[in-house]
Symmetry: C2
DNA sequence: ACCTCATTTACAGACTAACGGTCTGTATGT
DNA sequence: ACATACAGACCGTTAGTCTGTAAATGAGGT
C-alpha cells in the first residue's frame, strides 16, 4: 500500500501500538521490529511519520500530557468549587477513573521502567504542580478554604508524595501498607492545611495497589 | 599486556571510569567503546571481569550502596545519640559530606538520567528507608525523642521528600525556591514529630542547589 | 464536470554503521 | 603445565538512512 488516504490513522496505529509495547516491555526492550511486526507496517512508514524511536516516545508522552492537562484545566477553571473542593475533585477523579483497571493489567512497576518513571516525575514537576495544583492552592488560600503558605512548593510536595509514593503503579504494596501510607499522607496534608483525601478515595488506592500486586505475582 | 599481577586494579579502573561516564552521559549513551577508549583496555578485559554492561552498572550501584549503608549503619547502631539526634546527624552528614563538590561538578540533572534516577529511588525504598530510617524512628519513638506512628511509612515519606524533591542533583532550583522547599519540608516534618533539619543544613542544601544550577548553565 | 498529467505524499524494503556480547587466541604469572 | 588476564576478530541485532514506487492530489485544459 502506498499513499494512504488517511495517514492520521497510521500515526494513531503507531502511537497506540508503541504506547502499549513501551508500558508492557519497557522502552529499551521494545525494538522497532516489534512495532513493525505488531502494526504490519514497514520501517519506511514509521520513519516517514517519526524521526526516531525517541520521537515516538515523546509524542506519546505529549498526548498523555495533553489529555491530562485538559482534565486538570477543566477542574482548575471551574466556577462551581472553591480551592479545597477542586483539590478533592482532582484526587477523586484520578483514582476513580474509568480506565483504572486496564492500567493495572498492563503496567509493570514503573520503578522497573526507568524511562517512564522519569517522564512521569518530570511531568509532575514541570506541568501538573506549577500549572494546576499550585494555582488551585493559591485560589484556596484566597477564598479561605486552605490555610497555607508557599503554594508552589506545597504543590510540588503533594504531587511527589501522591504521584510517586502513593502511586501503586510505581511501587505496589499490600493492602495494609497502602492504608498506612494513605494515613501518613493524610496526616501530613492535614497538618499543612490541605485535607482533601476522602475515605472512599483511600479505599480506591488500596484496591488499586492490591490489583497491581496480584497482577504482577500472576506473571 | 596479558595476565596482569593486580587484576583488582583493572576492575577498579573499569568501575571508576564507567561510573564517571554513566553519570556524565547517562547509561544508554555510554557505549562499551567509550569505556574501552577511556580505560585503554580491550573488550576481552572488560568481559573477563563483568558479564555485561548492565553488570558493570549493578556493581557500581552495589559499591555506592555498600558505602552508603556503612555510613548509615554506624549512625543507626551508635550508642551516643537518641533517635532524633541520629536523624539529625544523618541529614547533616549527607549534606555536609566532603565529596559533595565533586558530585555537583559532574552530575547532570538526574531527571534526565532515568536509569540512575530509578536506582536512586529504588535504593531509598528498598534499603535506606526500611533498614535505617525506620529503625531510627522506631528507636526515637521508644526513647521519647520522637512522637509519631507508622515508622516504616514515615521513613518512606521522609526519604521521598528529602532525597528526590529536596535533592538538588535530581532537579536543581535557584536559591530562593530551594529555601522555600526546605521551609515546607521543615513544616511537614515538624508537624509529624520529626524536627531534624537544622538551619546550617538548609543553607548547605541551598548552596548545593545553586552550585549544580550554575554548573549546568555553564555547559 | 471531467480528463490529463506533473507533483507530492505515504509508504516498502534493502542497506549501513554501531552496538552489546561471544569466542578463540596468546602471553604471563603461579 | 596450567590457570588467569587479557587482546581483538567476529556475530547477530539494533536504530536509522536511502532509494524506489504507487496512490492521492491539485492545476490546467476541454
Amino acid at each position: 500500500m502506498a499513499r494512504n488516504k488517511y495517514p492520521e490513522e497510521t500515526v494513531e496505529l503507531i502511537l497506540n501500538t508503541a504506547a502499549r509495547l513501551f508500558t508492557e516491555k519497557g522502552f529499551d526492550k521494545t525494538s522497532l521490529q516489534d512495532i513493525i511486526d505488531e502494526t504490519k507496517l514497514s520501517k519506511g512508514a514509521i520513519y516517514h511519520h517519526f524521526t526516531s524511536k525517541e520521537d515516538i516516545f515523546d509524542k506519546i508522552c505529549q498526548r498523555i500530557g495533553a489529555a491530562n492537562s485538559e482534565r486538570l484545566a477543566a477542574v482548575r477553571d471551574s466556577k462551581d468549587m472553591n480551592g479545597l473542593e477542586k483539590l478533592r475533585s482532582i484526587f477523586r477523579s484520578s483514582m476513580l477513573h474509568p480506565n483504572q483497571e486496564r492500567i493495572a493489567e498492563i503496567i509493570p512497576r514503573l520503578i522497573d521502567n526507568p524511562r517512564i518513571l522519569a517522564i512521569h516525575v518530570k511531568m509532575q514537576f514541570e506541568n501538573v504542580a506549577p500549572n494546576f495544583i499550585a494555582p488551585i492552592i493559591r485560589e484556596g488560600i484566597a477564598d479561605g478554604s486552605i490555610q497555607a503558605e508557599a503554594p508552589e512548593q506545597l504543590a510540588e510536595a503533594v504531587m511527589i508524595l501522591s504521584d510517586i509514593w502513593l502511586n501503586p503503579a510505581v511501587w505496589p504494596v499490600n493492602r495494609e501498607d497502602m492504608r498506612k501510607r494513605c494515613e501518613v499522607f493524610r496526616s501530613i496534608t492535614r497538618s499543612i492545611g490541605l485535607d482533601f483525601l476522602d475515605d472512599d478515595v483511600v479505599e480506591a488506592y488500596v484496591d488499586y495497589s492490591d490489583a497491581v500486586l496480584n497482577n504482577q505475582s500472576n506473571k
